[in-house]
């Protein structure tokens, strides 16, 4: 199982210097892992936000900064149970990206499924590559 080695990348990382402003909520913040793909029409971003439901996530695009934030509450309520062994921490997510491509803001789509956020950012018409026809004289 050579691909298992990939799992190393899945280790949760604390959101570090990218958090420019202080938050009002206390607790840990993690930086979600993302995949970003591009084709001629869209930029598509996938972010792993385990523990966050669709109502917990906020996506904003302000100027050219795309921000992803998610609030996560612990899956097991403390009471009869004690955390006896831990390999991951539970906390909120925060990450922002600078989008250099002009985006059609009205058509941005975001949805959550099984802890994965998928954002489709459609490019503006003028940003799309255009084939220029060469005319013979």
């Amino acid at each position: 199982m050579a691909e298992v080695e990939k799992s190393r990348e899945v280790k949760k990382q604390k959101a570090g210097g990218s958090v420019a402003t202080e938050r009002t909520r206390t607790g840990r913040i993690y930086m979600p892992n993302v995949d970003i793909s591009e084709d001629k029409d869209n930029l598509t971003l996938y972010a792993d936000l385990p523990g966050a439901g669709d109502e917990d996530v906020s996506v904003t695009l302000e100027n050219d900064v795309l921000t992803i934030e998610a609030k996560v509450s612990p899956p097991v309520k403390a009471g009869d149970h004690r955390l006896t062994y831990a390999e991951y921490g539970v906390g909120d997510y925060f990450r922002s990206f600078t989008i250099t491509e002009p985006i059609d803001r009205d058509r941005i789509e975001a949805r959550m499924k099984d802890g994965v956020l998928r954002i489709v950012l459609p490019k503006k018409e003028e940003a799309k590559p255009k084939q220029i026809k060469i005319q013979a004289e």
Binding site: V4, P75, L83
Partner: protein, 145 residues
């Protein structure tokens, strides 16, 4: 990363473990050792009557996850499928891992395997494993002779 006189008002076990893990991997990094992180990561919550295991596996089809329990060992097996590229797409970033995973987890006690329950929601797998009846602590009354 030396810490001198670290004052903490509330003890946070996860924070503590992360700190230890980080310190150890810092310590070893000079020897070219990479800190091994198991996938999927699990947290174990222990109660009187059952154990709850949670695991972060976002974007996995529950059909692709296979759980088995034998005595006090839980086996967690599955696949996280690769995000395929569509026609004319190319990657800018690829940070999310994928592939097959296989883990065995030693439980703190024997489990009633027929009563194990598992659910998957928001990318978190939650397994509730009731303690075996025969394994529960019993109060023994002392008889007078």
């Amino acid at each position: 990363m030396a810490r001198i006189g670290r004052i903490s008002w509330s003890w946070d076990p996860i924070q503590e473990m992360e700190r230890l893990e980080r310190d150890w991997s810092d310590f070893f990094s000079g020897f070219g050792r990479q800190s091994a992180v198991k996938y999927p990561p699990v947290n174990i919550f222990t109660g009187e009557d059952n154990v709850i295991i949670t695991s972060e596996i976002p974007g996995v089809d529950p059909e692709d996850v296979d759980l088995t329990v034998t005595g006090d060992v839980l086996t967690l097996k599955g696949t996280r499928r690769r995000q395929e590229l569509g026609e004319g797409q190319s990657w800018h970033r690829r940070e999310r891992g994928y592939g097959d995973f296989y883990r065995t987890i030693q439980l703190p006690y024997n489990v009633e395997s027929s009563k194990v329950e598992a659910s998957y929601s928001k990318g978190i797998l939650k397994i509730t494993l009731p303690r075996a009846e025969a394994d529960k602590a019993r109060k023994i009354s002392v008889k007078t002779a």
